[in-house]
Each structure stands twice: as C-alpha cells, then as structure tokens.
C-alpha cells in the first residue's frame, strides 16, 4: 500500500473492482455528449431570449458538465472493473453511405477514450465553476456559457468518435468554438483578428487531416478506427511511402491543433480570449487533441518510423523553442501560453518515441496544473482590472496583464498565490507534484529509446521551464508591488467560486501524478496503474514497435537507471527554482510604461525569434498580393478587359454593319434566334 490515505482508499476501490471481473457495458455513453449539447441549447436560447436570467445559466452551464463528469467517472470505474476490456462501439445512425464507404455516427468506448473523456469533463467542470465568478459581470454571460458547453460537446465527440470523419467533426468543431471564444469580446479588433488567425492556421492543419483520410480510404477501404488498426499492419508495408505520407498528413493536422512548429503561431494570439477559455481550450483540452490523435492512431505511426522521428523531433524542438520565448515574455498569460506550447512538445516527444502512456499521462497532469496556472493568472488579471478600474486608471489588457505592473500580489491574493506555487512547482517537475512523474517519464523514455539528442533537448527544456515559471511567480507575487498607490487600495481577492476552482485544480495537480509511479523510484512502491489500465489501447502499436525496433533499453544515454535520473532531475529543478528565485526576488522591475525593450539575445527572445514577422513577410503579404493580382490583373484585366470586352469591341464593329437589325430589344434577338432555329430545322427535315 502506498501510505497516503486518499490513494489507499482509491487503490482499495480499484482492487475491489478488479477482483470481480465482468464485461464492460457502457453507462449512458450518449448522455456524456448530449448533456453539454443540451446546455448549449438552453444557454443559447437564454442568450437570445432572456439574457438577464443569469441564475439559470449559472446552474445549467456547469450543471450539465457535472453530470457529464459523473457519467464519465462511472464509465471509468466500469472499465476498470472489466479487466482489459475490448473497445465497445455504440452506433447511433448512419451518417454517410455510398458503396463501400460507410460512416456511422458511432462512439468508441475504450480505456483511452474514457480516460480522456474523464479528464476533459473534470477540468471543464471546474473551469465552468470558475467562470461563474470570472464572467459574472459580463453582458454576454449566457452566450459565453453556451459556447463553452458547445466546446465540451465537440471535444467529447472528438475524443469518443469511433472513426476518422466523426473525429474530424469534433476536431473542426472545437476549432470553431475556439474561434468564437477567442473573439468573444468581438468589438475589439485585436480579439476578432486573433480568433480568425486561429481558425485559418488550423485549417492548414485540417487540410492534412482530410488528405490523410482520403488516402487511408483509398488504401484500406474503411475509416473506422478498429478496422483501420486491424488492417494496417498487413495492409501497409512497414516504413512504406503510403503509411509515411498518411501519418505525416495526420501530424500536419496535429501541428495546427496542438500548436507545434510550424503552425504554433495562433496559440499566443489566442490569449486574447477570456482567461478561463485559455485554461480550458488552449491549455487543458483542445490543444492536446493532436497528442490524442497520434496516440489513437499509434499503430499507423508505429508502421512509419520516419513519421515517428518527425513527431519526436518536432515535439522536442518545439518544447525547447517555446521555452526560450517564455523566458522573456512580460504578459502574464503569454508566458503560460508559450509554456503550453512547450509542454505539448513534450507530449509529442513522448508519443513520437512510442511512449504512448507517458504522453497521455503528461496530457492529463498538464491539464490540471496548466489550467491551474491560467486560472490563477485569471484571478490576478481580475483583481488588477478591478483595482485599476476603480482607481480610474486605464485598465486595458496590455496594462492589467503585464507582469511589470504587478509584483507583491501575494499579500492581496493569498489563495491565488499559494495555488499558483503548487501549479508552478508541478510544472517545474518538483517531487511529489504531478508534473514530476509525468515529465520525468517522458524524458526517461526518450533516453531509454536511444534518442540521445532529443533527450538532451528535453533535459534543457526542463531546466528552462523551472526557470521561467519561477520568474513568473516572482514577477507576479513577490518583491515590491508595482501597482500604483491609488489602485493598490482596491486590490481584492477573487470571488469564492473562483477560489474553489483553484483549490480543486491544486488538489488535482498534487494527486494526479500518483496514478503512475514508476517502479524504479527509490523508497516508493511501484504503482503503474495508468500504464496497466491503458495497456489494451496501446498494445497493438507497442507490438508493432517491439517487432521492428526491439524492446527499449533501460538505461539513459549517460548511464544510470530511471530512479537515479528522476532524483537528479527533481534536484536540478529545485536548484533552478531556488536560484532563479534568489536572483530575481530583489530585482527592481520598471513598470511596463517606463521599461525599455530588452537588448541583445533577450530582445530576440522578447520578440519571439521574429517568427510572426517572418511569416508575415514571407507568406501573408505575398499571398495577399497574389490575391490582388489575381483579381485586378487576371480577372479584370486579362479575361474581362482583353478577352471579353475585346471581343465585344470587335463585334461592335461588325455590329455596325448589321445595325439595322439592331432594335435594342432582346425580344428581337430571341425572335431572330427562334427563326434561325426553325430555318435550320426546316432545312434538316427537307
């Protein structure tokens, strides 16, 4: 037994359930999805018909999610009870059917999808509760909750779909909700722009998803997950061009949805949305869809070693790249946004080296501590906004979110302060918090599978992570307050619903790592529950991997076992945290208005390696010019000007000759045509 009371009782429950083996019969699976949809309909109707019925919205919005969470939890327990159950397909209606192509509106309930559904509904539920406080005074309250409910609906469709096209419904559906919620305060052009950017960049990824589906159908004649995964090992040549292209197209989709190089650029802009939206969509759930997709289609990726390498390399490079940018950002949310991109990179590194459980594990723990960090930021922004507004100062986004205007907030926002520390340490990978277990497993897996270079990148990223998140904590909560005298008097802690959400997520950030304690850790009993639970979902893929690449080694590139490295890494993380904390605590920051732009390398990082500028110069501007040329030069100039009107002028000259027939009425022309037809027909008949 583990020794922690809560875990002990959980363990007992699991053991109790697993001793009585029975078949898995899903519990109300469609309701898991329907409940958020019902919420969307009700809140949407309220938004249009009676926007002032806030109490109804506050009950329905989170309420449906709570119920949905319960359904997911029951299903998880049932799945645990049915040891290593086969996936259950529940089909509701036939969506499309032509010849061999048959696409059902069907859900697949298995260990992976139910696990994901549980994480999604759990985090969503908490963030919905938080939103009651955060959005409480917003005139679009009902609209907000209807979009948020709709998002969860699509997210669950994505997670539970039993075939590629239905998953694509969720895939684009969550993108749509992201678009609507980023631009929720649509009257501000920057926000509307950010939403649009997210949608269009994601469409580039969606192109990849579509292309992959077409090719899969062309080769295998089906798009059902189960059938595809069963056929693929025989249908595709290992490492062949077909499966490599298909998986690369799928991964293109992932780079869009999960904000990886080269399509990550929309995510930092997406921070223009309300903070709970950033927490839910742009940290905990939607952006992890790409990781889920790679894990779900693990068999296909396992057959394409080149694609696996691409996934792992892109993941590792993105992780490091985004972490460097996070070091020099001053916007409280942008730091965390880049951190999200970086952590998603870790997850891709994991699934890219075939450590599927590690990827999903980090996905789950990250959902808790990253949502926590966002919501803590939200509490800070909420307080800043409130204070500045009451003091009659400018309270725009660029002021309230700039960390150079904060400092010393721990005295005013104690709960946010404490929970933010928990989230930050979890992110930094400090034992015994969640991030320690999951991130460590990823780094270990990369090393154990012989990816030395990627392992080095991952270790470097881990050190940077501990550094930038400590800087974030110090700039926001510690040191001298840089909030103006006038405004400081109005700093208030957030409403209690928000604090409840923070505490719940903090609990999640502590305990969620304990579902998978690696065997090699010193002093701790082995408890690889998650690994065993998810095993049926990844069995096929792991089988292919082992068959072609052999068992992973159990040594790190520099020697030593998993346990040694875990101890080393958490020690390093703690040292970096302490060092950064000491170095920055006494530092005096100028407020955003007075501060000059950083210089040298810092400027490069502050300006995010100038990637946005580069894309603008190389892609966006030339493309706009191309569109303009297409219209003005080709369409209007060449086709209409030279050809059509040219013909018209020539004809006009000819027309002058026959102008006596020209009466100006189309009726006459018609008459001439009809007479002409009759004459021709007459000639034929004779």
């Amino acid at each position: 037994m583990v020794g922690v009371p809560v875990l002990d009782s959980m363990l007992a429950l699991v053991q109790e359930a697993t001793t009585h083996e029975r078949a898995y019969v899903p519990f109300l699976p469609s309701w898991m999805i329907l409940l958020p949809f019902i919420g969307f309909v009700i809140n949407g109707a309220v938004g249009y018909l009676a926007p002032d019925r806030r109490k109804l919205v506050s009950a329905v919005g989170p309420g449906v999610l709570g119920l949905s969470f319960l359904v997911a939890a029951v299903n998880l327990v049932l799945l645990i009870a049915a040891h290593d159950a086969e996936p259950v397909i529940r089909s509701y209606w036939t969506w499309m059917e032509v010849g061999q192509l048959r696409i059902e509106a069907a859900l697949q309930l298995d260990q992976l999808s139910v696990m994901m559904a549980l994480v999604v509904t759990c985090v969503s539920f908490i963030i919905h509760i938080y939103s009651i406080g955060y959005m409480g005074e917003d005139p679009g309250y009902a609209r907000y909750f209807s979009f948020l409910n709709l998002f969860v609906f699509f997210m669950l469709v994505l997670v539970l779909a039993a075939n590629f096209p239905l998953m694509f419904v969720g895939w684009e559906g969550v993108g749509l909700c992201s678009y609507l919620l980023i631009g929720f305060w649509f009257t501000e052009p920057a926000k509307a722009d950010a939403g649009q950017k997210a949608f269009i960049v994601n469409r580039i990824g969606d192109f990849g998803f579509l292309a992959a589906m077409f090719a899969l159908f062309a080769y295998l004649g089906t798009l059902d997950f189960q059938a595809v995964f069963a056929i693929a090992p025989r249908g595709f040549e290992y490492g062949g061009a077909a499966v490599t292209l298909i998986t690369l197209f799928l991964f293109l989709g992932c780079t869009g949805k999960s904000a990886q190089i080269p399509l990550y650029v929309w995510l930092p802009d997406a921070m223009h949305g309300p903070t709970p939206v950033s927490a839910l969509i742009h940290a905990a759930t939607m952006v992890t869809a790409g990781v889920y997709l790679v894990a779900r289609t693990g068999v296909l990726f396992a057959l394409a070693p080149l694609s696996m390498t691409v996934v792992a390399v892109v993941g590792a490079v993105t992780a490091l790249f985004a972490a460097t940018i996070a070091v020099q950002q001053f916007d409280i949310k942008r730091v965390i946004a880049y951190s999200t991109i970086s952590q998603l990179g870790y997850m891709f590194l994991a699934v890219g080296v075939g450590a599927y459980t590690a990827g999903i594990f980090h996905l789950a723990t990250h959902a808790f501590f990253k949502a926590l960090l966002f919501l803590a930021s939200g509490a800070v922004i909420h307080a800043m906004h409130h204070a500045l507004e009451h003091a009659g100062e400018e309270a725009g986004e660029d002021v309230t979110q700039d960390m150079r205007n904060m400092g010393g907030l721990k005295a005013y926002l104690p709960t946010s302060f404490r929970t933010a520390w928990i989230g930050a340490l979890a992110l930094a990978g400090v034992f015994p918090l969640a991030g320690f277990f999951s991130k460590d497993e990823i780094i270990w897996s990369a090393g154990a599978r012989g990816q030395t270079l990627l392992w080095v990148l991952a270790v470097l990223t881990a050190l940077l992570t501990a550094g930038y998140i400590t800087r974030w904590l110090v700039m926001v909560f510690h040191g001298a307050s840089r909030v103006g005298e006038g405004a400081r008097r109005y700093l208030r802690a957030a409403p209690s619903v928000m604090l409840v959400a923070l505490v719940l997520l903090a609990v999640g950030s502590v305990v969620s790592g304990w579902v998978n304690v690696p065997e090699a850790l010193p002093l701790l009993p082995e408890f690889t529950w998650l690994h065993q639970f998810l095993h049926p979902s990844f069995e096929a893929a792991e089988h292919v991997l082992v068959e072609h690449m052999g068992e992973p080694a159990h040594v790190a590139p520099l020697g030593g076992g998993e346990g040694t490295w875990a101890v080393l890494s958490t020690t390093a993380a703690i040292l970096v945290v302490i060092f950064t904390f000491m170095a920055l605590r006494g530092k005096r920051y100028l407020s955003a208005r007075e501060a000059a732009e950083p210089t040298g390398l810092w400027r490069l990082l502050y300006r995010k390696w100038y990637v946005d500028e580069l894309y603008d110069l190389v892609i966006v501007k030339p493309f706009k010019a191309l569109c303009m040329v297409s219209w003005r030069v080709i369409d209007q100039g060449l086709i209409d000007g030279a050809l059509v009107d040219g013909v018209a002028y020539t004809t006009r000259f000819g027309g002058w000759v026959v102008s006596r027939f020209q009466t100006g009425y189309v009726g006459t022309y018609v008459l001439i045509i009809v007479i002409g037809i009759l004459i021709i027909l007459g000639a034929v008949a004779l």
Partner: protein, 525 residues
C-alpha cells in the same frame, strides 16, 4: 392512397410541376397588382407541396428513369415529349421547388414596380429550369434551356441595380453564345442518327446509341462543353457571373446561384459526358477540365478573398464551389458523382441563403460594400448568428451540409486522381481565408458607422425565409443519408457505365489493397 401513389409514379406529376409555374406566371399578368404577390406565393407553395411527396415516392436504389413518358410530338422531325426523373435530377427538382416560395417571399417587399411582369418572369424561369432537369428529348431540352435565358435576362435587366443593363447583356451574350454552338452539335447528332439508324429521332436513349466517329467526338463534346462550361461557370468563362449577381435582385441571385448554375453541371453529367465518353475521358480533355476546375477552386478563392463587395465575394465563392463539383463530376466514381450531385443541392442551400442574407442587408442600407458594415453582431445578433452559420456551412464545416458533399467528392476523386484531389483539398484553407475576413469585417469589430446603429434585426417575414434554409443546412449535415440514398444508385450506374464505355479501368485504385480485407469491417462491428 393508392391513387396518389399511382399519380406520383406517373409522368403527370412531372408534367404538372414543369408547366404549372408558367401557367401561374401567365395568370399573374391578368391579376390586379396588389394581389400579385399573394397569388405568386400561393402558386409557389402549391408547386412545392405537390413536388414534396416525390422525395418519398421515388424508388431508392432503382437505376433508370422514374415517372417516365415518351410520346411522339412532331413525329416528322423525330421530336417527342419525353420526360423522366432519376437520382441525379430528383433532388435538383426538389431544390428548385423548395426555393421557389422562398424566392417569392424574398421579393415580397423588395420588388415595388412592374410586379406582374416580375412574378411572371420568376415563375416562367422555374418552368424552364425544371424542364431542363427532366427533358429526355434533345429538342425539348434545348427549348427549355433557352427558356431559362430570357426571364433571367429580364430579371437582371429590369429589376436589377445600377449597372443592370451591362450585367444583363453580358449574361445574355455569354450564355447565348454557348447555346448556339450546342444547337449545332445537336443537329449533327440528329443527322448522325438518321445516317446510322435511318429514322429521325432526338430522344435521349437514341442519342446515346449514336456512334460518333473519332475526331468529331471531340468537336461535338467541345460544343456541348462550352455551353455548359459557361453556365457552371468554369474558369475562364466565369466573369459574367459576379456582374450578374451584383446587379440581380435578391431572388434573381438566389435562383441563379442555387439552380441555374447547376444546369451546367447537369448538362455535363446528363449529356456531354455520356454522349461523348471517349472524348470526355481522354487524357487531354480530362486533364484540361480538371485543370480548369482546379483554377476555379483555387484561383477564384483568391479573387474572392479580396472582394470589397459582399455579393461579388459570394459570387466568386460560387465559382470555387462549382469547381469542387466539376472535379467530382469528371473523376467519375460513384462517390465523387454522388458527392457532386449532393453538393449541388448543398451549394444551392448555402449560397442561396448567403445571397438572401446579403439582400437583407441591402434592404436596410442599400449597399453591398462590406466596409459599410461592422459590428453587426452588436446591433442585429439574430441576423449575425444566421450569417455566421451559413458562412460556416459554405466553407464546409463538418456537421453542416457543405462538408458532406465536399468530403464525398474528394474521397471519391482521390482513388483515381490523388494529386488533383490534394490540390483541390487546399481549397478548404482558402475557403476559410475568404469567408472569415468577411465575417470579421461585417459581423465582428465595433460599430464604425452611425447609420448602422439603428438597424433592425430580422423581421418575422425574414425569419420565415431564412429558417427553413437553416433547418435544411443542419439536417443535411447531420443526417444526409436519405439524400445520398436517392442519388447513389443513379450516380453509380452512370459513372460505371461511362468509365466502361470509355475503356478505362473500371476499378478505382482503392480496391488494389482493400481486396483482402473486405471481411474485416463486419468482424469489428
């Protein structure tokens, strides 16, 4: 009941549907002015309600004509009265009758002058369109084809906006030019038939039997194809369309985009390709058509992206959408043709709805300039919600109708033309690129024009117009199966027969690998 069933399996129902609008249109000319629109709406509703049972009486899975009739009409010239419905025409007919009452309602307050002639033209136009969809005699087909031309010309030229004469003449000259060459080709076919069978005939089945010698096939195909390509329109024959749309009254735009353009695709599917399969599927022609269709998808999407005028933007997106349909048509697999026909209906609903919504704005502010609107979501939220939904359906958001057709087209085409399909698929990116900035500029952002502060949200009449379209957009996205079922059999037999005749490999590439695994799906369910 059984009598009704008999009626609905006979040709009388089709004959009624084709000629009733024209009769009703002529009646319009003799009614008092203030009652015209009520009469027109009653007639349109009647037409729609009479047509509706066809959806269920149509026999699913049956290949060949239903409600078929062929009676000698002018026997000396081989002209017969021949009509019939199959899976390719059924939904197009229903789309036309569905949009007719909507078009009348759209005109309700917009058309204030010469109402008699206006509603007469609108109704006669529908006779022409329905006639084209059901005619199985080339003479009959040609007459109906020409009949569509004249009312549309007047709808644009008389009830249009400022530059209506230019647009109307351009529309007329473009389409008339195409149809004249087609007439010549029909006559050649007629002669060939006399030559080969010794009897005069213009019947559809007889024409199919005509053996057209080698190079003549290409010329005749070109003549038919030109007429249809202008109608679709395919790049580079598309420049009449934006002008026609911008100047046309709303109902004109709706009919033009939703149904009239489909006459072109229908012409390819029904006539140009089956009559001259070897020419149509020869490598040169096929690649040319695909290249032009791709130009339509990609290039017109670029042009659409920089349009300052809302109606022009929608017009260019129409060309892009029709490009997808043309790819599906020429890929000639059962999936791609089914998807193409379905997409014709989807495009009719989405683009029709877009034009209607553009018209609603025009009625309020008398301009189509997108820059004249901003922050609409703040003043007219219901309208804005409708516009966003329809725009999303137009760019193929899964769950709405546009996705299903696009998906079937592309997945069907991929097996035979993977690279062309990949290029076509990039259209989904450009679609987002032309539609979302329009939404951003018009719907989001802050109010920039004081004139927009007082805009009224959708009236009851406007809701009655747009809600049926929205319902269909969602329904056909979530549960398209009943619609697909009605198309599939005809699409499949058509594509397989043509490919067989053209001597190409009848099996798409996908079967190569799938052969071993046919049992696997059954095993996993």
């Amino acid at each position: 009941m059984s009598q009704l069933a008999t009626l609905y399996s006979s040709h009388w129902i089709i004959t009624f549907l084709v000629f009733f609008p024209a009769v009703a249109g002529l009646v319009c000319l003799f009614l008092p002015r203030e009652r015209i629109r009520y009469w027109a709406f009653t007639a349109a509703m009647l037409e729609f309600l009479v047509s509706l049972p066809l959806f269920w009486t149509f026999k699913i899975g049956r290949v060949g004509w239903q409600n078929f009739v062929t009676e000698p009409w002018i026997p000396d010239w081989g002209i017969s009265y021949a009509l019939g419905v199959d899976g390719i025409s059924l939904l197009l007919i229903l789309l036309t009758t569905f949009l007719l009452p909507i078009s009348v309602l759209v005109s309700w307050d917009q058309i204030k002058e010469k109402e008699r002639a206006y509603y007469a033209m609108l109704l006669i136009l529908v006779t022409g369109i329905l006639g084209v969809f059901v005619a199985l005699d080339l003479f009959l087909f040609y007459v109906f084809w020409e009949v569509t031309l004249i009312p549309m010309y007047f709808l644009i030229g008389v009830w249009g906006h400022e530059r209506r004469i230019y647009a109307a003449v351009k529309f007329f000259l473009f389409t008339a030019l195409g149809s004249l060459l087609m007439l010549v080709a029909i006559l050649v076919l007629f002669w060939l038939h006399i030559d080969q069978f010794g009897v005069t005939s213009l019947g559809y089945a007889d024409m199919l039997r005509v053996e057209v010698p080698g190079s003549l096939q290409y010329w005749l195909f070109a003549a038919f194809a030109l007429a249809f390509a202008i109608k679709v329109p395919i790049f580079p024959f598309h420049t009449w369309l934006p002008d026609a749309h911008v100047e046309a009254p709303t109902a004109g735009s709706v009919i033009l985009a939703a149904v009239l353009l489909k006459l072109g695709v229908y012409g390819f599917l029904r006539f140009a390709i089956p009559f001259f399969p070897s020419a149509a599927l020869s490598q040169t022609v096929l690649m040319t058509m695909m290249a032009l269709a791709l130009m339509g998808i990609i290039y017109t999407a670029w042009v659409a992206a920089v349009q300052p005028n809302l109606k022009k933007l929608i017009a260019y997106t129409s060309v892009a959408h029709l490009g997808f349909i043309m790819v599906g048509t020429f890929a000639l697999t059962s999936h791609s043709v089914t998807g193409g026909v379905l997409q014709m209906v989807n495009h009719g609903l989405s683009t029709g709805a877009l034009f209607i919504l553009a018209g609603f704005l025009y009625n309020r502010r008398h301009t189509y300039e997108i820059s004249e609107y901003s922050g609409l979501a703040k003043v007219i939220p219901v309208y804005s919600g409708c516009l966003v939904l329809v725009a999303l359906s137009s760019i193929g958001l899964p769950g709405l109708n546009g996705f299903v057709g696009e998906f079937l087209i592309l997945i069907g085409s991929f097996g035979r033309h993977p690279w062309i399909t990949l290029l076509a698929t990039t259209g989904v990116i450009f679609a987002a690129y032309y539609m979302l900035p329009m939404i951003r500029r018009a719907v989001w952002n802050d109010l920039r024009h004081d004139e927009n502060r007082q805009l009224l949200d959708l009236s009851r009449l406007e809701l009655a117009i747009i809600v049926p379209l929205l319902i269909m957009i969602v329904l056909m996205g979530v549960y398209p199966k009943p619609f697909i079922d009605r198309i599939a059999a005809s699409a499949e037999s058509l594509s397989e027969e043509i490919v067989l005749i053209a001597g190409q490999d009848a099996q798409p590439q996908q079967r190569v690998v799938a052969g071993d695994f046919t049992g696997s799906r059954a095993g996993t369910q």
